[in-house]
């Protein structure tokens, strides 16, 4: 798709934005140019801290508290310069000609008013429509966005509506004045994959139908590939490159972009279960719940063999982290048991012996909260060695050095540092070293790569793989990211609503026929192909995605029956 020069809607030149921190103004955006035409959807992508969201706000002439647009920047919207426009002039644009869709719909709707009242606020204020007309229009938009019960849903309060639906209602609200441009600020980041796909389809349709220009901000390449006509890549407040979507995906120019595209080339050869051996960890018919609450786990059973990686996948609330808590003993199960090499593990970690505790270690998702910021690296890694093996003095120091070598960090340099001085990837490595210091045979990896930038994540996966080979470790890999599963897993367990839906070796799991939920989950994960969403919608049909598809799962299906055994 090509856009004409005369159709330029938004022209940003040399945009510089500063943020206030530690008593001084620091540059966040360092001179970015951006041109958006009528009807064009531009994807802004980059890692956290790239300044995507700040640029999005600036496109509306808005600087958040604690930030300021530096003089000399130019933001021209449809011929009007926003940097020196009066507050009233800028306000007249917002809501009517430029609209905004926020990341967290649940927090961005006012809890005190009904959805439809918030929807009609802008059109009534700008005297575009009378109140009742605006309400009718809202209902029509709800219908177009395929919200269930469009006649009635608007008269609910925000907390009475689910996350995916709220996000669509917010898109409808942005459309209420038929703006020329909408800023989407990570609209699906907080949603599960199966819900995300509904929202993506709805947003894409409505933007197409009204020929609205949009800036789509996200960190997810596959998502932006579906939504955008052009993609702009940002790094630390500067533009890396910009190109039409097809071109950008097939032929990136800059090294940084290539590195983003190149990830997940890494795959591990699938290992088979060792014959005639007892599983290292065996979860047997486990039920669990939090203090008399509803059942979180319902009859969960699976095995993990020595030296193998089992990936547990599922959406939030599927019970995958709870399973890990049961294994580690943080949450004693209400029924069933956990066996270690055939011997039952005491249900609570408090009753386990030092040796039992040592065998089973954990690596966490957020390295920031997993390491005590006030303790030196040497003690973080040294403490388990000292605690379990009773090492002291030089023996302890040698062990710490050895562990630092193992995770590819130079001992002399990191020995006396504190966690806040390290980067995210380095912190995650320290977390791994702490687990290794206990000399375990089994490690639970809870979303270890999801908070990391892609390249760093790849490095961590390679490290984990190497350690597995060297030390014959078993991993339980909790993740929602199927790319990670593809690269590192030997076996896969799919969970939904606290139950194991399907399990088996990786290759079997990625080849049909699937259990319908596995199928839905696998098909909902966006792929880099820009036509993925279109193809998928054609294949499955518009009413067979997301919640609707979930409801369609036939309980009498052969595959579904099979799991109940």
């Amino acid at each position: 798709m090509k856009f004409k020069e005369s159709d330029v809607l938004l022209k940003i030149r040399d945009l510089k934005i500063q943020g206030y921190s530690d008593e001084t103004w620091v540059d966040i955006i360092k001179g970015v140019d951006l041109t958006l035409h009528r009807g064009e959807v531009m994807g802004l992508i980059g890692e956290s801290g790239a300044g995507k969201s700040t640029i999005g706000a600036a496109a509306m002439g808005y600087a958040r508290d604690g930030t300021r647009i530096v003089e000399g920047s130019s933001i021209e919207f449809d011929g009007m310069e926003l940097t020196n426009a009066s507050e009233a002039d800028k306000r007249a644009l917002r809501g009517s000609r430029i609209a905004y869709v926020a990341q967290s719909a649940a927090a961005s709707f006012n809890p005190a008013h009904k959805l439809i009242d918030q929807h009609t606020e802008a059109p009534v204020q700008y005297r575009i429509k009378k109140r009742l007309e605006a309400q009718e229009d809202a209902i029509e938009l709800y219908e177009r966005l395929r919200l269930p019960n469009p006649q009635e849903i608007g008269f609910r309060y925000p907390h009475q509506v689910s996350g995916g639906q709220l996000q669509r209602a917010m898109t409808a609200m942005a459309m209420s004045c038929r703006p020329d441009m909408i800023i989407f600020d990570e609209p699906t980041t907080a949603l599960d994959v199966t819900t995300q796909i509904e929202v993506l389809a709805a947003i894409r349709d409505i933007v197409d139908q009204f020929n609205t220009a949009a800036i789509y901000i996200t960190h997810d390449l596959a998502v932006v590939a579906q939504m955008a006509d052009t993609i702009k890549v940002l790094l630390k407040g500067e533009e890396v490159e910009e190109a039409p979507t097809d071109q950008m995906l097939s032929n990136p120019k800059e090294d940084y972009t290539k590195s983003l595209w190149a990830v997940r080339s890494f795959t591990v050869e699938q290992k088979a279960r060792p014959k005639d051996s007892v599983p290292l960890i065996s979860i047997k018919n486990v039920d669990a719940s939090y203090s008399n609450g509803p059942k979180i786990l319902d009859d969960v059973s699976f095995d993990i063999y020595e030296g193998m990686t089992v990936a547990v996948v599922g959406e939030s609330g599927s019970g995958k982290s709870t399973t890990a808590r049961v294994i580690t003993g943080l949450l004693p199960p209400s029924k069933g048991e956990v066996l270690f090499k055939g011997e039952p593990f005491p249900p609570s970690y408090k009753d386990r012996t030092k040796d039992q505790l040592r065998q089973c270690q954990m690596i966490y998702q957020m390295a920031d909260t997993a390491l005590n910021p006030k303790v030196q690296i040497s003690e973080i890694i040294g403490r388990p060695a000292q605690f379990y093996s009773g090492l002291k003095g030089t023996a302890l120091k040698n062990r710490v050095d050895e562990l630092l070598d193992l995770i590819e960090l130079e001992p002399a340099k990191y020995y006396n540092r504190f966690p806040p001085e390290l980067s995210g990837g380095q912190k995650q490595r320290i977390g791994i070293a702490r687990a290794l210091a206990a000399e375990p045979s089994f490690i639970v990896c809870d979303e270890v790569t999801s908070a990391l930038d892609q390249l760093v994540a790849e490095g961590i996966l390679r490290l984990l793989d190497r350690l597995q080979k060297e030390l014959n470790l078993a991993y339980m890999f909790i993740t929602h990211d199927l790319a990670t599963v593809r690269s590192i897993a030997d076996e896969v367990v799919v969970m939904q609503n606290g139950q194991v839906v399907e399990q088996g070796p990786k290759d079997d799991m990625f080849t049909p026929p699937h259990h319908p939920y596995t199928d839905l989950l696998l098909s909902s994960v966006p792929e880099m192909d820009p036509n993925w969403l279109t193809t998928l919608l054609e294949e499955r049909g518009i009413d067979n995605i997301g919640d609707a598809a979930m409801a369609n799962i036939d309980p009498d299906d052969e595959k579904v029956e099979g799991t109940q055994v």
Binding site: D22, G329, L330, L357, M362, A370, L371, N372, V375, F387
Partner: protein, 411 residues
């Protein structure tokens, strides 16, 4: 038009113009609004009012200059890291630090600074100030200035000890509740709720009516103090002891230490003071508990605590190595805040005649003893009251800055 009026306005106008010229918006705003205020007050109240405004402005300027110089002095003395922190301190906080520093000097070196003894009668009642007595004499003819200096020692020391005890009890219980959770946490929380639903002054009056005042018996105060230390010891035991043997040995040590500390305490303070300390410690420990529980509660949910628990670490290690280092900043600020409350409560009780007993020099009681002078337009009773206010204001200024620092730069 006197020389003073002309000079005053000229000075204000010149400085505000200079501020405006050099683009110092805030300074200009302050200076020019001062000019306008002086103008209005000058018309309404004449030269005396103008003089009052000028004096106030001058005093503020003086305080500001002291604060600025003191901050630079501290930055010069301290290490690089500390210096960087100190640079962020607003002038109010620097002023607070200066005042605290002065009070500390005054309290520690009271016998050398004060020209007369604490209870020494040297002239007639309410004698006016002369070269011998800086602030005149009180209702018994004792030197007011000397008593204020000694008051710094008595009142502040009592408040400090009270706050410390409240802190040890409250913080220990809070840390333990956060680490243990479950039943213990629930019981402690409800207990704190109940104690806090009695207004602090009222609760203090109730307890003092029973144990305190001039009728307090030394033996009662000793046993109460021992009991208090035993409770604290029990909390430490619950955190540190492992196994029945550990409990047994720990309990023996705890009781011994408690008796020793109680003996030490009663040898320093007299019976009514010990009761007063215990009363404030009991009243304020639930508040400390609440805050510590909240702060520690935020730390306990961190994954590194989970990692340490799964490693098999005991409560004592968790509290000492993992939780405490991550809660010090808010706890120190809270200590300052609680000190202010305790100090004001003790001052209030003494003012009511139920706190520190005569003849010990104490600011609260001094206000009460000299209150009659107010109706003669004499400001003497305001001096000890002002001394109380100045210290609490100073501590609050410092705490305000620390809270702002520890809450990050969210605003």
């Amino acid at each position: 038009m006197s020389f003073f009026v002309v000079g005053y306005y000229a000075l204000l106008l010149v400085t505000s113009c200079l501020a405006a010229y050099f683009n110092q918006r805030q300074a200009f705003l302050v200076l020019f609004s001062l000019t306008l205020v002086s103008f209005v007050l000058g018309i309404v109240g004449g030269v005396p009012a103008l003089r009052a405004v000028a004096t106030c402005a001058g005093l503020l300027l003086f305080a500001g200059m002291i604060a600025y110089a003191f901050r630079e002095f501290l930055i010069y003395l301290s290490s690089d890291d500390m210096g960087k922190e100190l640079r962020t301190a607003p002038l109010t906080a620097a002023f607070g630090m200066f005042v605290i520093f002065t009070y500390a000097i005054m309290g520690i070196f009271a016998p050398w600074i004060a020209p007369h003894g604490e209870a020494e009668v040297i002239s007639s009642a309410f004698a006016p100030a002369d070269e011998n007595m800086l602030l005149g004499a009180d209702q018994l003819g004792r030197d007011m200035f000397s008593r204020i200096v000694f008051g710094a020692r008595n009142t502040v020391a009592l408040a400090l000890v009270g706050t410390t005890l409240a802190f040890i009890l409250g913080a220990m219980a809070g840390l333990l509740a956060a680490t243990k959770g479950g039943f213990f946490d629930g019981v402690m929380g409800r207990t704190a709720d109940v104690i806090m639903s009695i207004p602090s002054l009222i609760f203090a009056l109730l307890m003092l009516s029973i144990f305190g005042g001039s009728l307090a018996a030394p033996s009662t105060s000793f046993w109460l103090l021992t009991g208090f230390f035993c409770v604290v010891g029990l909390l430490f035991l619950a955190a540190a002891a492992e196994g029945a043997m550990g409990w047994l040995i720990g309990a023996a040590i705890a009781v011994g230490v408690a008796v020793g500390l109680a003996l030490f305490g009663t040898s320093i303070f007299n019976a009514s003071e010990v009761i007063l300390i215990l009363v404030v410690a009991i009243i304020y420990s639930p508040r400390v508990y609440r805050l510590t529980r909240a702060v520690a509660g935020n730390v306990v949910v961190m994954d590194y605590i989970e990692a340490a628990k799964l490693r098999g670490e005991g409560n004592w290690y968790l509290i000492r190595r993992e939780i405490l280092p991550n809660s010090t900043a808010p706890l120190i600020a809270e200590f300052g805040l609680e000190f202010c409350f305790v100090f004001l409560l003790i001052a209030g009780l003494s003012f009511l005649g139920l706190g520190i007993q005569p003849p010990t020099a104490d600011w609260g009681s001094m206000v009460r003893e000299n209150a009659t002078l107010i109706s003669f337009g004499d400001i003497t009773p305001l001096i000890p009251a002002g001394a109380i206010a100045l210290l609490t204001v100073a501590v609050n200024f410092v705490v305000d800055w620390m809270l702002h620092r520890s809450s990050g730069l969210k605003e």
